[in-house]
């Protein structure tokens, strides 16, 4: 299902380390409309774990995480 998901906003933080992925994800969430799907793609391992924590704190929905060639994609719905 995650392969076919259509993202409304893509946040590319490949190569960035903490705290940049979390900060960029939050900026995208602020700009997004209710119902929008935000895809965060990155490579920093700690961020892959921190972003789902943030999704929980912000009361958003975590649709899933896909990983290929060491790049993770986190799908969030506002």
């Amino acid at each position: 299902m995650l392969q076919t998901i259509q993202s409304d906003i893509v946040v590319d933080v490949v190569g960035e380390t903490c705290p940049v992925p979390l900060v960029e994800m939050r900026k995208a969430v602020m700009k997004a409309k209710k119902g929008d799907i935000i895809e965060v793609k990155g490579t920093h391992p700690a961020s892959k774990q921190e972003i789902p924590m943030a999704v929980d704190s912000l009361g958003l929905e975590l649709l899933g995480i896909r990983e290929e060639d060491q790049v993770w994609h986190i799908f969030i719905q506002k």
Binding site: P19, R26, M53, S57
Partner: protein, 388 residues
């Protein structure tokens, strides 16, 4: 977030008291004349009265004379004027100045700029609680020294410096003593005669006053040159149209800063310290362990195994505003210079969190902050790459 935003970054700036805003309002729409126009028309006289009334209130608070209080655009300008203004007044006569390694950047960078311009600078060490080395201070003063600049309370770890002892040393050695009291004004007593201070920096926005206004106390007879040219206002020490509304707000903020609030903030500080220590393992206190030796609203701790920036971001998402000594937000890898001067490791400096309280905080908020910190620290430790 089931609660309203909890703001614990009051050392950065504070909420302006609505009474302050009320006092300032007429000076925007009714009494808006330039105070220097007092010799020309009635609105100018009224503006001058507002400015001078506030000057008296501020002077009284530090046991100074009104004509020794010069309004500035804030603490930054007051610190720049104190350091550069005295340097310029001593040019070609004396060329050595002293400050500590933990001064606010506005003092530190002003001193370092003078060093680049040919002055000699001594930076004093501090111990692991942030206290200045007084023996080193005494040894550092020479017949070339014109200024010692030491803050009253530290912006990050809250250390209250022994300014009365430093004042005595400076008086004995005939050196100008500047105290940056931007963080301590109204929460700690400061009597310019008892402290033997020649220059004192004050600012409004850290005491629930407006941003954009501060003051420099200048003891009568202190050699100092003005830095802003183009007029004769503020006793010919600071040119520029007077910020009458700001000054009036500053004065009102001083009037509203009652001693009862200091006791109240101390009780919140104690509650937060004890709550964090009781609930969270692997916590280190940064700054003095004895609360009476810290600024009343300051709590600064490091959590083992996690980065401060992660804690800050996750607390923000829980509706709590604090800051970290880690400089990663600015993309610089350098941790807080204050923490490094205190001899801490990079890890401890990067893990530090500063909570600063005000009279607007409540004890119920402290309970929420402790609970939220515990949750965030535990969750971050589970995913920490630093754990063994």
């Amino acid at each position: 977030m089931k609660h309203e935003r909890i703001y614990l970054d009051n050392a950065a700036t504070t909420r302006t008291d609505p009474e302050v805003v009320k006092a300032m309002a007429p000076y925007f729409t009714e009494t808006y004349a330039v105070a220097s126009s007092q010799f020309s028309h009635m609105p100018g006289i009224q503006a001058r009265e507002g400015l001078d009334r506030s000057r008296e209130v501020i002077a009284q608070k530090i046991n100074a004379k009104p004509e020794e209080v010069v309004f500035t655009s804030g603490g930054t300008e007051a610190n720049n004027l104190a350091v550069k203004g005295t340097a310029w007044a001593h040019r070609r006569k004396k060329d050595h100045l002293i400050c500590s390694k933990v001064e606010h950047n506005t003092v530190l960078h002003s001193c370092q700029w003078l060093e680049q311009e040919g002055f000699q600078l001594t930076l004093l060490d501090v111990d692991d609680e942030g206290f200045v080395d007084l023996t080193q201070l005494e040894k550092s003063i020479t017949d070339r020294t014109f200024l010692v600049s030491i803050q009253h309370g530290n912006q990050e770890v809250g250390t209250i410096q022994p300014i009365e002892k430093i004042g005595r040393i400076c008086t004995d050695r005939g050196v100008i003593f500047h105290v940056d009291a931007a963080l301590s004004f109204t929460t700690l007593d400061l009597d310019v005669d008892r402290v033997q201070a020649d220059l004192v920096t004050l600012t409004a926005h850290k005491i629930h006053g407006p941003k954009g206004v501060g003051a420099l106390y200048i003891r009568k007879g202190t050699p100092i040159k003005k830095m802003m040219h183009g007029g004769y206002s503020e006793f010919d020490l600071r040119s520029g149209t007077e910020n009458v509304a700001g000054a009036v707000g500053f004065g009102r903020a001083v009037e509203l800063a009652q001693p009862k609030y200091v006791q109240y903030i101390r009780s919140l500080q104690k509650g937060l310290f004890e709550g964090l220590k009781k609930e969270i393992d692997g916590i280190r206190i940064n700054g003095p362990k004895t609360l009476s030796k810290r600024l009343p609203g300051n709590v600064n701790v490091s959590f083992d195994l996690i980065e401060g920036e992660s804690v800050v971001l996750h607390l923000d998402m829980k509706g709590i505003s604090v800051i970290t000594g880690s400089a990663c937000f600015s993309r610089s890898l350098e941790p807080s210079y204050v923490m490094m001067a205190m001899g801490f490791s990079h890890e401890r400096a990067h893990g530090s969190i500063r909570y600063t309280l005000s009279r607007y905080n409540r004890m119920e908020e402290i309970d929420i902050v402790v609970k939220s910190c515990k949750e965030v620290v535990e969750a971050l430790r589970k995913i920490s790459p630093l754990k063994g």
